[in-house]
């Protein structure tokens, strides 16, 4: 396979372009998609190629257009709807909680809802309390959503193509600090199945499960830890629903120790869930307490100093791993 380096946002754009060329029923809908190509430029060029019919600019009516996306999906369209930031989920809250993901179940499996919502997550640029959240754990708590959190351009492209082809509602989360990072992506077409974790680094001492931006912070921490003689295994679940329990548990069986690094708030977060699963299913393998390195359950503050204080960083990761590694 020939590869080249492209930006994360180019990977997203490529995935959508390929899927839109392949399948007429795929269309894009959201705010400022045409001229802006969405605020961070992920979609630039798609309007030019696919025109007004397949790239819809909406009013600021998230309930209206998320619901319309679900309705169109039920009829057989494959809308990819942009929710500008995951912080806005509440604006379309009922469509996101009670409608899109429950329709199939409530109606006894009589319909499917192949809706993708693309949204931006994450802190890191002082966007403050209304534009910095990573509350995908709320989505994961709602029955009926699949949820994707890619950490590299390669994963971003392969998983987005899978999302578009999936017959269930998918929440696809793009981290704002990753959108302009680069990575290798094959020239050839590929998809990545949901529910398969990716081991971003192998190691025998401590398993660290990390998501999105946190994968990169963890990989940096790994270098530092390696110098101290601690080799961590970095497991990136890539999708939190479905979650690849097996890979996580197998890694913990090997290392006996687990740290979870997650940017979402700690309380009732996916970090808690992974901890609970592992302590249920791999209790005998654990030789130390499971540690979570997460964002405390506070609104994301604006000032860089404060934002830095709440979002997990290398220092906190290193500290947690050390504690777990030295627990006896």
């Amino acid at each position: 396979m020939s590869t080249r380096e492209i930006l994360f946002l180019e990977a997203i754009r490529e995935a959508l372009r390929e899927e839109m060329r392949r399948d007429e029923s795929v269309f894009l809908m959201g705010e400022d998609l045409r001229i802006w190509g969405s605020p961070m430029g992920q979609l630039q060029g798609l309007w030019e190629e696919f025109g007004d019919r397949r790239v819809l600019d909406t009013p600021i009516s998230e309930t209206g257009f998320v619901g319309a996306g679900a309705g169109a999906a039920v009829l057989g369209s494959r809308p990819v709807v942009e929710l500008m930031f995951i912080d806005f989920f509440g604006i379309a809250g009922d469509q996101i909680y009670n409608q899109a993901p429950k329709l199939r179940y409530m109606f006894g499996g009589r319909m499917k809802v192949p809706l993708v919502i693309r949204t931006v997550i994450g802190a890191g640029n002082s966007a403050a309390a209304h534009h910095s959240a990573s509350v995908y754990s709320i989505i994961a708590h709602m029955p009926g959503w699949k949820c994707v959190i890619p950490s590299t351009p390669y994963d971003a492209k392969g998983l987005l193509k899978t999302a578009v082809r999936d017959d269930d509602p998918v929440m696809y989360c793009e981290h704002k600090m990753l959108v302009n990072t680069k990575g290798e992506v094959p020239e050839e077409e590929y998809t990545i199945p949901f529910g398969e974790a990716s081991i971003k680094r192998e190691g025998a001492d401590v398993t660290v499960v990390a998501l999105g931006w946190m994968v990169h912070k963890t990989l940096k921490a790994a270098e530092e830890l390696s110098k101290e003689g601690i080799e961590i295994e970095v497991v990136d679940p890539r999708t939190i629903v479905p979650l690849d329990r097996e890979t996580i548990i197998n890694s913990v069986k090997k290392t006996g120790r687990l740290v979870i690094v997650d940017e979402d708030h700690e309380r009732c977060g996916i970090g808690s869930e992974i901890s609970a699963i592992v302590s249920e299913e791999a209790f005998r393998s654990l030789s130390a307490p499971i540690k979570r390195v997460t964002t405390p359950t506070v609104p994301i503050p604006f000032s860089p100093v404060l934002e830095n204080a709440v979002i997990p960083n290398e220092e906190r990761i290193v500290k947690a791993v050390r504690e777990v590694a030295s627990f006896a």
């Binding site: 269309f27 019919r53 819809l56 909406t58 009013p59 009516s61 998230e62 309930t63 209206g64 257009f65 998320v66 619901g67 319309a68 996306g69 679900a70 309705g71 169109a72 999906a73 039920v74 009829l75 057989g76 369209s77 009922d94 469509q95 009670n98 409608q99 329709l103 199939r104 179940y105 409530m106 109606f107 006894g108 499996g109 009589r110 319909m111 499917k112 029955p143 009926g144 699949k146 999936d166 017959d167 269930d168 529910g195 629903v241 479905p242 979650l243």
Partner: protein, 323 residues
């Protein structure tokens, strides 16, 4: 527009089917056969039947918590409906939905909805799908007077307006949202006045006059099929009983309810049919009997149907297996 005898009799039959279905449902609820929340459509039949008679089978409707009437009017089978109300495996939704969640895709029934205003965006999306694919299908979204105070109504009708979507917004104005009188929650006289804020035509029609509803719908549907966009149709009506089974309904005087029952859409059509010589008393009685039979058979079907299997509770969350 000429309305045929056949259409008129079919409208009568459907209204009676709804009325009798609801009457029996009321009893079955009281008898503990039908669990959950049940909102009856009795008294409002003119709307569902008038509207749906103007639609094609491949047109779609979105419905509400008070959805039995919509479902029957669009051709829903009372057998599967009743089985669903019982929570049986043979129900429209295999017992997963119940009274507030019934759908039949093959008949263009997008589904009822327990959330007030919750299905308006979905029906609007169905219309978007039609426009996207260049078909001439239309979608109808039913909702109550109370629902017009939800943001979802506002956002959806505006979306439909700017994109000229083929969707009809049918407001069933029965003057109450639960115990709350419409006059205490909005200042406009007519809900159709809200249409102008979106650049959409608004019409008010007597919802108890099934023929008027039918004719109005034909017109606005025609307009929608031609790509000229949505219309807000307010149908004024009233309900014959409480908001849901269990509601004592003390916020309306007996006189109000009696006055309401006098405006019954079924009686009205029945009189019209006979006075205008469309049908004989006998013909009407035959319909009434056939309707009773159909509902009783549905009840028997529901009674005899098996319960779902507990393990089925975990299927249908996803198309792919449950995680």
């Amino acid at each position: 527009m000429e309305i045929t005898k056949e259409t008129l009799l079919e409208m009568y039959r459907k209204m009676q089917l709804i009325r009798y279905f609801e009457a029996r449902t009321k009893e079955l609820f009281a008898a503990g056969k039908v669990p959950g929340f049940v909102h009856l459509y009795s008294g409002e039949e003119g709307i569902a039947v008038g509207v749906c008679s103007a639609l094609r089978q491949n047109d779609y409707i979105g419905s509400t918590h008070r959805g039995h009437g919509h479902c029957i009017a669009k051709g829903g089978d009372v057998k599967y409906m009743m089985a669903e109300l019982y929570g049986k495996e043979t129900g429209y939704c295999k017992g997963k939905g119940g009274s507030m969640h019934i759908a039949d895709f093959d008949l263009g029934i997008l589904g009822a909805c327990g959330i007030v205003g919750g299905s308006i965006p979905l029906s609007t999306g169905a219309a978007l799908h039609f426009k996207y694919n260049g078909t001439d299908q239309v979608a109808v979204t039913f909702f109550g007077d109370g629902a017009t105070n939800q943001g979802s109504f506002h956002e959806s009708i505006n979306l439909a307006a700017i994109w000229d979507l083929p969707v009809i917004f049918v407001c069933e104005n029965n003057k109450y949202a639960e115990s709350t009188s419409i006059s205490s929650v909005m200042k406009v006289e007519k809900i159709s006045e809200r249409a102008s804020g979106y650049g959409v035509p608004g019409i008010t029609v007597d919802g108890n006059d099934v023929i008027a509803v039918y004719e109005t719908t034909l017109e606005v549907v025609e307009r929608a099929r031609k790509g000229k966009g949505p219309t807000l149709v307010e149908c004024v009506t009233c309900r014959h009983q409480g908001h849901y089974e269990g509601d004592s309904g003390t916020y309306r005087t007996k006189e109000m309810v009696e006055e309401c029952k006098k405006r019954c859409p079924i009686k009205r059509l029945c009189t019209f049919l006979q006075e205008e010589g469309f049908s004989s008393k006998k013909e009407i009685e035959d319909i009434d009997k056939s309707v009773e039979k159909e509902v009783e058979a549905a009840i028997e079907f529901a009674e005899k149907s098996p319960w779902p299997k507990p393990e089925d509770a975990l299927t249908d969350v996803f198309v792919s297996p449950y995680y």
